[in-house]
């Protein structure tokens, strides 16, 4: 490459990878905003009941279907329950499902990707064909089909969404492993007699972490959207536990009388997902500016 370009790169040599990553991330104001929002959400998720002004099942028929007011900042729903309180409590569900589902996807997908990328050949083909099959389904359809088997409910929704997002992690891990395993130090380790397991865990895994981390935040964003879609369809969290998607569905029934029932849960989803996306984008820029995986976007509703 030309001198000029090389020079640019030379001029910006990182001091240390972790420090530079953090520096870049913090400099990204959007990412910081996202982190703040997420921290807030986690706090709400843990301390929801203490923060919420009302209980989630405080029925008050006399005050049903009200818009925002002094005593009910987000208004009330068809049973007179306080929308704000229900939105706050529902945050826990969304975060739970999101984290556990993505945790599942990582726990299954990353090892598959590691094995496929490291051993290649027939193992790789078979594993990746299996991932291809999963990829052939639009995400939400797959989740619906799985829930048809398992039955609705929060736990099953976690498994369903987890299965849906496993192939992405497998593919991304495998892609990185293919690149990293070509590096000289891997061959050096092997020639020194290191076992496969040791090589994979001590040498390869640390170096493929970056794209996995980025994908994690992005998948969290989509997982929360998926959970919302599933509960909207009645397949996820079951009443009376509040969930943003479910609340939106209920809101739709009463749109004429009180549109606010549906507006606020949707806003909550929007803000949460945006926060994850900002953090994910920030991480991507900080860790590896060149990574732009097409596969990341799994479509919207799931």
């Amino acid at each position: 490459m030309s001198d000029a370009v090389q020079l640019d790169r030379l001029a910006e040599k990182p001091v240390s990878r972790t420090r530079e990553t953090l520096q870049t991330l913090v400099a990204n104001r959007l990412a910081v905003a996202g982190l703040v929002v997420l921290t807030l959400l986690v706090v709400i998720g843990i301390f929801g009941e203490a923060i919420a002004p009302y209980g989630i099942n405080d029925i008050d028929i006399a005050n049903r279907l009200q818009g925002p007011s002094g005593s009910h900042w987000f208004g009330t729903d068809d049973l007179g329950r306080d929308t704000l309180s229900r939105v706050l409590i529902a945050a826990r569900v969304s975060l739970q499902v999101g984290f556990i589902a993505v945790g599942f996807a990582i726990a299954v997908g990353v090892p598959i990707g590691l094995v496929a990328g490291y051993y290649r050949g027939a193992v790789d083909s078979v594993l990746m064909r299996m991932m291809d099959v999963l990829f052939s389904f639009p995400a939400i359809l797959l989740a619906i089909a799985i829930l048809a088997v398992l039955g609705p409910g929060i736990g099953n929704a976690m498994i369903a969404i987890g299965i849906v997002y496993t192939p992405i992690f497998a593919r991304i891990t495998r892609g990185s492993v293919l690149v990293v395993s070509e590096e000289v130090y891997i061959r050096a380790a092997r020639s020194l007699g290191a076992t496969d397991g040791r090589i994979i865990f001590r040498h390869i895994l640390p170096n493929v972490l970056a794209p996995i981390i980025v994908q994690t935040t992005l998948s969290l964003a989509f997982a929360i959207l998926s959970e919302a879609a599933l509960s909207f369809l009645g397949l996820g969290v079951q009443p009376p536990n509040p969930a943003w998607g479910r609340m939106l569905a209920d809101g739709q029934d009463f749109f004429q009388q009180n549109p606010w029932m549906g507006i606020f849960p949707g806003l909550a989803i929007l803000v949460t997902v945006m926060a994850f996306n900002f953090v994910g984008d920030g991480l991507r820029d900080a860790l590896d500016p060149k990574q732009k995986s097409v596969i990341e976007s799994r479509g919207q509703s799931a």
């Binding site: 490459m1 030309s2 001198d3 000029a4 090389q6 020079l7 640019d8 030379l10 001029a11 910006e12």
Partner: protein
Amino acid sequence: MSDPVLQVDNLQVRFGTKRGVAEVVNGISYELREGETLAIVGESGSGKSVGVLALMGLLQQPPAAVTGSVRYRGRELLDSSPKAWREIRGKGMAMIFQDPMTSLNPVRTVGYQLTEPMALHLGIKGDEAKQRAVELLDMVGIPSPDTRVSDYPHQLSGGMRQRVMIVMGLACDPDVLIADEATTALDVTTQAQITDLVAGLQERIGMAVVWITHDLGVVASIADRVHVMYGGRFMEQASVDDLYATPSHPYTEGLLGSLPMPGSDRPDKLVTIPGLPPDPVAMPSGCPFAPRCSYSDGARCTQEVPELRVAGDSDHATACHYPLGVAP
């Protein structure tokens, strides 16, 4: 003596980077006459490429800041409008680059890329343009030019691609050709072919060439004059014979010392001078080469930047407080 085609006066280029201001080119001046071949030699990071990119107005400002004067045929370029620049680029001054695989568009045919400057600057289009493209390919010795013209870059060998780059630069008969490391990505044999080619074309067309390279072997075969660049400045400038016969800057001595003896294999990059080039963001005070110079006095050399001074009545100049072969 004809007027110089190109006059560069105290050219400076600074870049704003995350770590501070990088002083990449620090006041270089030179002239280029018609038909002359000037070689600018230096290591990676010496600022030689950035220097010529500035000549063509190809540096984005910001983050770069270019000051000084560049006059092409007497006309000041550095304050030109984008439109004025576009008229000169490819027509009056042309540039070819190091890696022909990445410097040629992979999804456009060779013919398309050749005819592009002709259509743009000379208004030659259609069949006439294609015909000229075939002629140009023939001129640089590419076999079966009439079929090659419809090929894509990846279908040609490295040497052929570089020839395509050269002839693309020459398509509009420029007065000045700038070759930025044009032979670095090629093997030795092809290198020799390319340098011969350019020299031959130069004679035919009467073009001036600025050759940027880190390879002194290449310089010996093609240049009239040589400027040695380090840390964004010229350390030594002389005719090619004078430079090889009586180098007077310690850096030049080091460079020449790393040339292989006849009989050994291909010329290496400059690895035998210990130490690293200076960091443009943190340029040392005094002579930029002092930290690596075995002749440095540790005092004046590290405090005072040596000026380019001519030795005797020749045009052989050196920027050193203790030039070699000269009594202090």
